[in-house]
Subunit: 409 residues, 2 copies
């Protein structure tokens, strides 16, 4: 049996296609709800026939980039280097963490490719493609599918491969197009052994479990999951983070604007860094439940006192402690890290956030309360990971270890 | 090289004595302070001569029993079964978790003993001895040293071995007597390969870094650490949890009595379980920064709303989520888990807590803010754990893996 090592974890090379799907914003509540109401019959059948459903924890901040990278590297942000979608780096100042140059660890897929094992990364948002494609991994995104091919597998046109034009990245079915690309690619290139498909949370940001658009999303998801299963793939499904409503009964966002609050208290702020920040402002207006503050040393304790008195502000940690408890790289986080409750978001200055573009009342993530995520497998877990899987204490970054090394027949 | 496996982790059997010391309540701040003021010359010399100092995270709740068991088993409470000093179990109701029958995982030391490798557990508090001695591991406590021997090593009298009578468990130097027992036992039984010494936090509960009694504690600790080093032992030092002041400027405890608060809001409470509860009430009056609530289903969301409005209350999780984010056994925790800030403690009903017995203004632990702990080794870390050690993201439960498998010369 061939084994490939990535970041000090060993992974078996499978004899057939293994597929990991990350449902962006795929809070466990969507799956509980969908299963209970019977709108996910293929997932239900998979579970009835030996598949398993548990929960685990994502990285904090509970955001897309850190978690997708944790999932494909098997290690936390302290090791892979991506603690947010956005952060302040010592070398380049404030940057979107979309550039592969910020990666400090290779993906499992890159190590498979080095070992001659064919892999593919399919993303919905193009922001992830560069990171996930690092190390010579074939990659394609829905957002840039028009005109793109997958030359490594002789595919000249992704849209021709799928048989329809790619939707826009804000289309509720954009994620499903990513799943279709993966399916079509597996048919065209059956040598692929490890496929990663990363969806987008456009629907989850706007719609709670049980809403029509959510049902459309998960019904379609379920049908495509069924197609993967019918194709004989071993399947794993997780999420990069959960999702919670962060608005009041009137639909108004429940937000603390930390720069405004601190300046009103006479505390000068070097910077409020909102690591949820990304190019997809219609999703969240850069408002999530996690913030880093850059402050000169004498202002940190006063800032902590002011912020801890705000309702909905939960944990406040200094840089060293935040690195330890959240497993983050010390050089890419703030002097203070602030988290908010499930129903509260954190902003910088009110004037900097344009909420007129939101698709609906604010639903978002980034904090501790969006850390629980589903861990779903098409077969039972055996060996040393069986007990922690059952106990719900594994991490989403364990999903490749689970599906490649521990899933029984 | 002989390797022994415990709970799916493999440990090398050392050719000479390896010693792990858990400083109860040994917050990193005591070590930072002691090193800065030069009162720990042997630790300083150890670090100058190749030893390493980093931080890591303890289990939450950050308490003695869960963490000592995590340290000696290498797995979290979800696996070893001890989520507090005290909890409600389905089988026995409210119990002090001092009885080995509640253990769900063997210790590394029990597996070493099974493999014929001599080990020894020395505790200060007797409450830990039964748990740590489980599986046929020779064990002795300072609290019950009078009249006790260590028959496995032909030691008839512990007090004769040490050469002086054991102090009381509330004596500031009780911990050092535990270290002396370990040293004397190693001299009398040089076949011992793995020694665990667990101290008590009587001093840390009453004295901040830099106070005279703290300085006495760490000066004596340092001298004894030096004796272990002079005896050729490979050393590891960690803590079961940190420690923070939980009182206001006037020395009054800053406490929310959760039962009182909820009942005043008209919410009936089945039980408030304070997992810090143990026989050593002079330390903390059962007041720490973590509580479990047992509530009927319809009262959980109202309780969450009431409690989350209290200043200093941080995270509130339901049972399933608490099990995931804190890695706890679902059947031994409450319907809600509540954590408090560094400066705030949680009680049940005010009338149930006798604070007149405290040694001084309340200093305590149990919450997230007492999670950071020191990880100190007498040699550098090599191999796969080097990067996470340096990043400060390992757990105290990794200390045996570190010291047995990854410490260089």
């Amino acid at each position: 049996m061939t084994v490939v090592t990535a970041n000090n974890r060993a992974y078996r090379v499978p004899a057939h296609a293994v597929v990991v799907i990350t449902v962006d914003g795929g809070d466990p509540s969507y799956f509980y709800d969908g299963l209970e109401r019977g709108i996910m019959p293929r997932l239900q059948r998979m579970l009835d026939e030996g598949g398993v459903f548990s929960v685990g924890a994502s990285e904090v901040p509970s955001l897309t980039n850190p978690n997708n990278i944790s999932i494909v590297t098997g290690v936390p942000p302290a090791i892979h280097g991506i603690p947010g979608n956005y952060c302040r780096t010592p070398e380049d100042g404030l940057v979107l963490l979309n550039d592969a140059k910020y990666l400090r660890a290779p993906s499992i897929h890159a190590r498979f490719e080095e070992a001659g094992v064919p892999t593919l990364m399919v993303t919905t948002k193009d922001k992830l493609r560069q990171l996930l494609g690092n190390g010579g991994v074939p990659s394609v995104s829905v957002e840039r599918a028009a005109g793109a091919g997958i030359p490594e597998y002789g595919i000249e046109s992704v849209e021709e491969l799928v048989g329809e034009p790619a939707p826009g990245v804000y289309d509720p079915l954009a994620s499903h197009y990513a799943m279709r690309i993966g399916l079509s690619a597996l048919r065209a290139a059956p040598q692929i052994r490890l496929l990663y498909v990363s969806l987008t949370d456009r629907v989850q940001h706007a719609h709670a479990p049980g809403e029509d658009v959510s049902d459309l999303f998960f019904t379609e998801f379920d049908a495509l999951l069924g197609e993967y299963l019918d194709a004989g793939c071993t399947m794993a499904v997780t999420a990069d983070h959960g999702m919670n409503a962060k608005h009041d009964e009137n639909g108004e966002p429940r937000v603390h604007y930390l720069k405004d609050v601190l300046e009103a208290a006479g505390i000068p702020v070097e910077g409020v860094v909102l690591p949820i920040t990304d190019p997809y402002v219609k999703h969240h207006g850069a408002l999530g439940s996690f913030a880093w503050l850059h402050l000169s040393a004498e202002h940190r304790e006063p800032a902590r006192r002011v912020l801890s008195a705000l309702p909905g502000v939960e944990e406040i940690w200094d840089r060293e402690q935040a690195a330890t408890v959240y497993e983050l790289p010390r050089d890419r986080i703030g002097d203070l890290a602030v988290t908010a409750s499930a129903d509260t978001a954190l902003g910088s200055a009110a004037a900097d956030h344009d909420l007129t573009q939101l698709h609906g009342p604010l639903r978002s993530h980034g904090g501790r309360h969006e850390q629980p995520v589903p861990l779903i497998l098409s077969g039972s877990v055996d060996g040393p990971l069986a007990d922690p899987f059952e106990a719900g204490i594994l991490r989403s970054r364990d999903i490749h270890d689970l599906v490649l090394n521990h899933v029984g027949a």
